[in-house]
């Protein structure tokens, strides 16, 4: 199978959906003539023109809200946030309008929008550009949020997100844009709400999403090679909707759980997962569930310190050994 980058995979998803449905519009800061701040939208403006690929001013509350309003009339905007951290100036639109208008209208309105962009730390850009708000979004019924970790998932899930008739917030990762993976030539989609076992194992379940999946996979190799521990890595892929069954099936098999998450620890995504496991698979556990998150402080700038702040293989292995003790 051919190999392309996560960035190219997203680009293909956008191009294919622009081609498929004339209501799809890509909009955001620098997405058109500049070809995208992170080049995810490269070539789309040239190919699809001004109507379909639209540069907006730096005005997130304005253009995200505009996209939500247009979606109520049947346009299907795919809006780029240069960083998910910038969503915070558009939160009223993203939560109160996109998240609540269907409910408050008694189901008379739908908002088929996608808001996408990178949501990650680890690039030494300081706390204001390093937020991972998937837990905030997952706390808002009415919204969906996904965090693909591989090129294959990025393409397939982006296509599903664009076709979905509810608001779907897609959190990508600048540290993954350049990572390559196998992506078929032929068309495919990956449904939202389905987790994926990225590595099979028997001794320990590591649950992760986004780049933490890559960290978990690296750690699993070391655990196998140096400690004789067979770790299974479950990639959530989609946070809301959530695939609980795949997690529980793995836990029932391995009886030990480590939850790795680049969110800060308080009410992180893995807090929800930990609660769910203890409620539904308590009797299968041979050890307390352990969680590993970003160290609980704003993202630090200092490059070597930021590497330490985020989950990395050394701490994943340390925690895994503690769970398997």
């Amino acid at each position: 199978m051919r190999t392309i980058t996560y960035r190219q995979a997203l680009n293909e998803a956008l191009a294919e959906e622009l081609e498929r449905d004339e209501n799809v519009v890509v909009m955001g800061e620098e997405v058109a003539e500049y070809n995208g701040a992170y080049k995810v939208t490269e070539g789309l403006w040239k190919r699809f023109g001004d109507k379909r690929v639209v540069d907006t001013p730096i005005s997130e509350a304005g253009f995200i809200g505009m996209g939500i309003g247009a979606s109520m009339l049947g346009v299907r905007p795919v809006m780029e946030l240069m960083f998910w951290s910038f969503a915070y100036v558009a939160f009223d639109q993203m939560i109160n309008n996109a998240g609540c208008v269907r409910y408050m209208s008694g189901g008379k309105i739908k908002c088929p929008i996608v808001v996408r962009g990178p949501a990650n730390g680890g690039t030494n850009v300081g706390a204001t550009h390093s937020h991972t708000p998937e837990n905030f979004i997952a706390n808002t019924p009415g919204l969906k949020v996904i965090c693909p970790a591989t090129a294959y998932d990025a393409k397939g899930m982006m296509k599903s997100a664009i076709r979905d008739d509810d608001p779907v917030y897609v959190m990508e990762n600048t540290k993954l844009y350049g990572e390559s993976g196998e992506v078929p030539e032929e068309e495919y989609t990956v449904p939202l709400g389905v987790a994926d076992v990225k590595r099979e194992g028997t001794d320990l379940t590591i649950v992760a999403h986004g780049r933490a999946v890559i960290t978990a996979l690296k750690s699993a190799e070391v655990l196998a090679a140096e400690h004789g521990i067979s770790a299974e890595v479950v990639d959530l892929r989609s946070i809301r909707p959530l695939d609980e069954e795949t997690i529980l099936t793995s836990v029932r098999k391995t009886n030990r759980v480590l939850l790795v998450d680049e969110n800060k620890p308080f009410c992180a995504v893995n807090t929800q997962i930990a609660t769910m496991i203890q409620e539904k698979a308590f009797d299968y556990l041979d050890a307390p569930i352990l969680r590993l998150n970003a160290i609980d402080a704003p993202a630090i700038y200092s490059p070597p310190m930021e590497e330490l702040q985020l989950p990395h293989p050394e701490v994943v292995i340390e925690k895994a050994l503690a769970v398997c003790k």
């Binding site: 001013p57 509350a61 309003g69 346009v75 109160n96 208008v101 189901g107 008739d165 939202l192 909707p241």
Partner: protein, 354 residues
């Protein structure tokens, strides 16, 4: 000099039939009677939440919406009862919504601030000050994208003009040539804070549009003819040139910011309210005008008022007798895909109650 112009002579008002003029009065009266009935029931403890009354401002919604055609869309803030009735929503569904009943326009899920009727091009009913202004730009964007000759009438209060979302919307509307008309309903008070204490301005609030190269005008909201004449200019600009407009329509609300506004009698004098009621009330003025023009008789006018009162009374009865939503309704209308039972709606867990 505006006061010297008789807007009755403008083409759009010349085209207005006697029936059309009477219909405008009927709509204004219906809004007044609906809200008075709602106030009575609210005070009696029949409803939850807030009740932001539109009493005194009726000519603004009715006058502007009387110009809306098939492809023109409406969106407003939380003082939304008047616009809802003006677009043709029934008193029953609106009253039932206030009561939180399943027969309400939003099935009892939105309440006073969140009335919707997309089938009548009415997109709410929004609770956050100025939060609806980017949506208004978006509706206009959608119309333009779909190649429809339409406009979005996006209403906001004078207190909303200081929100960033409004300014971002103006910039986008001008930049993208959007057929949106921002109607500032200036009732003089940003909740309990007067215009002078809340907004910096030279001559008026609409003037800020100059900074965005957007056409603007000020309108005397008590004169239905003026409201229609000046809104029509903006409608034509939207339809023919796909350009935005800001209209600042001066008006007045008789009640507080909401009925729960504890200071509603402190930040303005009883004389001020009385003065408006006696000399500027839209019902009094429009009725007088129609009587003078001979298109309406006193008998017709009082009959109309009686009918509106009876309709409001019936709406109260309808609301009282309607059922509350079933508990299972709490989990409906959250996700379209779930409601429709699509494959996407059945994949993965959407709700986390168990």
């Amino acid at each position: 000099m505006n006061s010297a112009i008789d807007h009755a002579t403008s083409p759009i008002n010349q085209q207005l039939s006697s029936e059309g003029k009477i219909s405008i009065l009927r709509d204004i009266v219906r809004i007044r009677r609906f809200e008075q009935a709602a106030l009575k029931q609210y005070t009696a403890g029949k409803m939850g939440g807030f009740l932001h009354l539109y009493n005194g401002q009726e000519s603004v919604a009715v006058g502007t919406i009387s110009l809306a055609g098939e492809s023109d869309h409406i969106i407003t803030a939380y003082r939304d009862h008047g616009h809802a009735l003006a677009v043709g929503m029934s008193m029953n569904e609106c009253m039932a919504e206030l009561y939180g009943k399943a027969t309400g326009c939003s099935k009892g899920k939105g309440g006073s601030m969140h009335f919707f009727a997309p089938d009548k091009n009415y997109w709410g009913g929004h609770g956050i000050v100025a939060g609806q202004t980017p949506l208004g730009a978006g509706l206009a964007y959608g119309l333009k994208y779909q190649g429809l000759k339409g406009a979005c009438l996006c209403y906001l209060g004078d207190g909303a003009i200081n929100q960033g979302a409004y300014h971002e919307s103006l910039n986008l509307a001008a930049l993208f040539d959007l057929p949106v008309i921002y109607v500032i309903e200036n009732n003089g008070y940003s909740m309990g804070t007067s215009q002078k204490r809340s907004s910096a301005f030279k001559s008026c609030l609409a003037e800020r549009a100059d900074g965005y190269n957007i056409a603007w005008d000020t309108v005397n909201g008590e004169d239905v003819y003026e409201v229609r004449a000046k809104t029509q200019v903006a409608m034509e600009r939207a339809h023919e040139e796909s350009r935005p407009t800001v209209l600042e329509i001066s008006t007045y609300r008789y009640y507080g910011h909401s009925v729960a506004d504890a200071n509603s009698k402190k930040y303005r004098s009883p004389e001020e309210i009385k003065q408006y009621q006696e000399h500027h009330d839209p019902i009094v003025l429009w009725r007088k005008r129609l009587l003078e023009e001979g298109v309406l008789t006193e008998d017709q006018a009082s009959e109309m008022d009686k009918e509106a009162k009876a309709e409001a009374k019936d709406a109260v009865k309808f609301a009282e007798e309607s059922p509350f939503p079933e508990p299972k309704a709490i989990l409906e209308d959250v996700y379209y895909e779930v409601d429709q039972g699509t494959e996407a709606g059945q994949t993965g867990k959407h709700f986390f109650n168990d």
